[in-house]
């Protein structure tokens, strides 16, 4: 049993490592596959992305090392990545690593809170909707979830912003904390939470639909099973029937979807942050796109891919641990 689990775990680790290698190869290939010299614009005074500072120009050139043969470039690139060197930002004139350290925690906070909230809410709502299937409350939940899923994240974010920060000025318009305010620890945490309400609300809404539909579908197919009839005949209370007997069936597929949604949440967070000027990766990306700051954009992709792959790997290992069927072919 334990052997089988180990084998399944090793296989997952291998697959995800392979995926990360593919990601690195893509990031390495892109600037080199484009026709001409992608960095030519940096030396051209007539171009909008012209870099005035010769030191920065040299640093960027050295980072890409485009004058060397390809295998040497790749070796050089991977070596730098392994040492945690993600390059030098053209526009911000700072090492990319320090920029990421400043921005990544905010995105992780926003994503983490939203994924947890959306998971809890969609599970409870899914179970409740199954129990009242076909009735008005079930149908309105279904329609609402479909709408929230169809509308893009930045639209949800803008609607929340207009409703609760402009028309009803309850929450702050932008940012992650009040600037220049000297809070104590407790007031500081509350301030961050207060600024997080609308962005996390928008991201949570956009993550609800898929999980809700999944829980509803798996539960509905479980309802007809013999053990449900038996449990009901034993006179068990509804709460136990709902969560212990029927809801349990939805747990495993639910875990898989949470993993898939980690990737989706990364994209959602980028858009939501742009609307609220939230100081996470989204704002970093927005500024970097405007300045065509290639090293920053490549690094954000690498790091966000690493986060998503790590989440998926952990979930897959948990899955293999709790699902008795994995590895027992």
């Amino acid at each position: 049993m334990r052997r089988r689990y180990l084998r399944a775990a090793l296989r997952s680790v291998g697959l995800y490592a392979l995926t990360m290698v593919a990601v690195v190869v893509v990031v390495f290939t892109l600037p080199r596959a484009m026709p001409g010299d992608p960095l030519a614009a940096l030396d051209d005074p007539d171009n909008s992305v012209y870099v005035t500072d010769p030191v920065v120009r040299d640093k960027v050139r050295a980072y890409y090392g485009l004058d060397k043969p390809l295998p040497e470039q790749f070796q050089h690139y991977v070596g730098r990545l392994a040492r945690g060197d993600l390059g030098f930002s053209i526009a911000r004139k700072r090492p990319v690593g320090s920029l990421l350290r400043a921005h990544l925690p905010w995105t992780l906070l926003l994503m983490g809170v939203s994924i947890v909230l959306a998971s809890l809410a969609s599970f409870v709502a899914g179970v409740a909707a199954t129990w009242r299937r076909g009735r008005i409350s079930d149908r309105s939940l279904m329609t609402g979830m479909t709408v929230a899923q169809a509308v893009p994240e930045y639209a949800l974010a803008a609607v929340l912003l207009i409703a609760f920060a402009v028309v009803l000025p309850i929450f702050p318009l932008a940012g992650a904390r009040t600037p220049f305010a000297d809070h104590g620890t407790v007031a500081g945490v509350l301030d961050v939470a207060w600024h997080l309400v609308l962005p996390a609300g928008a991201l949570t809404l956009s993550l609800l639909g898929t999980k809700f539909l999944l829980v509803r579908n798996t539960m509905i197919s479980a309802l007809g099973a013999d053990y449900m009839v038996l449990a009901r005949a034993k006179g068990l209370p509804d709460r136990l029937l709902k969560y212990r007997h029927a809801g349990r069936n939805a747990l495993l597929p639910f875990l898989t979807v949470v993993g898939i949604q980690a990737g989706y949440a990364v994209g959602g967070a980028v858009f939501v942050e742009s609307v609220f000027a939230y100081p996470g990766m989204g704002s970093l990306i927005l500024g970097a796109v405007e300045a065509r700051d290639y090293p920053v954009l490549e690094a954000t992709f690498l790091v966000l891919a690493l986060v998503v792959l790590a989440v998926n790997l952990v979930l897959e290992l948990v899955y293999a641990r709790i699902d008795p069927r994995v590895g027992a072919e």
Partner: protein, 290 residues
Amino acid sequence: MARPAGRLRERRRGLQFPVIGWVGLVLVAVFVGLALAAPWLSHYRTTELAGSPLEPPSAAHWLGTNGVGQDLASQILNGARVSLFVAVLAGGGTLLIGALVGMVAGWAGGVVDAILMRIVDLVLVVPKVPLLIVIGTYAGPSLPVISLIIALTGWPPTARVVRSQVLSLRRRAHIKAAVGFGASSRQILRRHILPEVALILSAGLVGAAGRAIAFEAGLAFLGLGDPSRASWGAILRDANAFGGLFFTDAWKWWLVPPLVAVSLLLLGVTFLGVGLEQRINPRLTRHTGP
């Protein structure tokens, strides 16, 4: 009261297409109409400085003007063209790659199938938005290029659905008979498998088109759109980047219309997709239980 409802239900059963699908179809049709009529409906070029900045809606400017005085109604109408162009091009491309990979994987089986499905897993797990952003900055901001990269990163879900369909089809008697008569794989895929997966592909096309619309608008919102075309995402970006937007009333005619447009079109596409799915596979909605 009872009779019209009864007749409606009868008609619904006759057409076999749920109400939600019709709602979606009408919404999409409205946008297609607006996009086709855009050259006659819009009175200004999208880049033209047609009025003074931040003019509220009037007879001359139906949706007012933006921060530099461009006519927003013309931009929204042109945005519909951009969105639908990308929907067709990127949606079609996604479908083409997805169907091809799915059919080959499902039919060939064995090592080919295993390798293709690993590639599917690999593309699926990589976060799409950051990937599109990196490719988008290098590939440049033309609409066909944007459509191409959306298609190149968006095909795996379609491939999976088609593959599972082909896997169940290849066990059927008429396919086995075709194999027995010595038909080549290409012939079987084209003459027997393709017609049977066509219905599923139509639902797949709608889904892919919706995702393409959302991604194009998102990329333009982040500043990666075609700067010579007024896309809804680009209007949103300009409004969002305008300092002090919410200290004036301008958000009402600058920020809200593109949001409403992109949301309504995506809702239409989604509803159409739900309708098609229910039509193809009614078991999805009709469950029986205690």
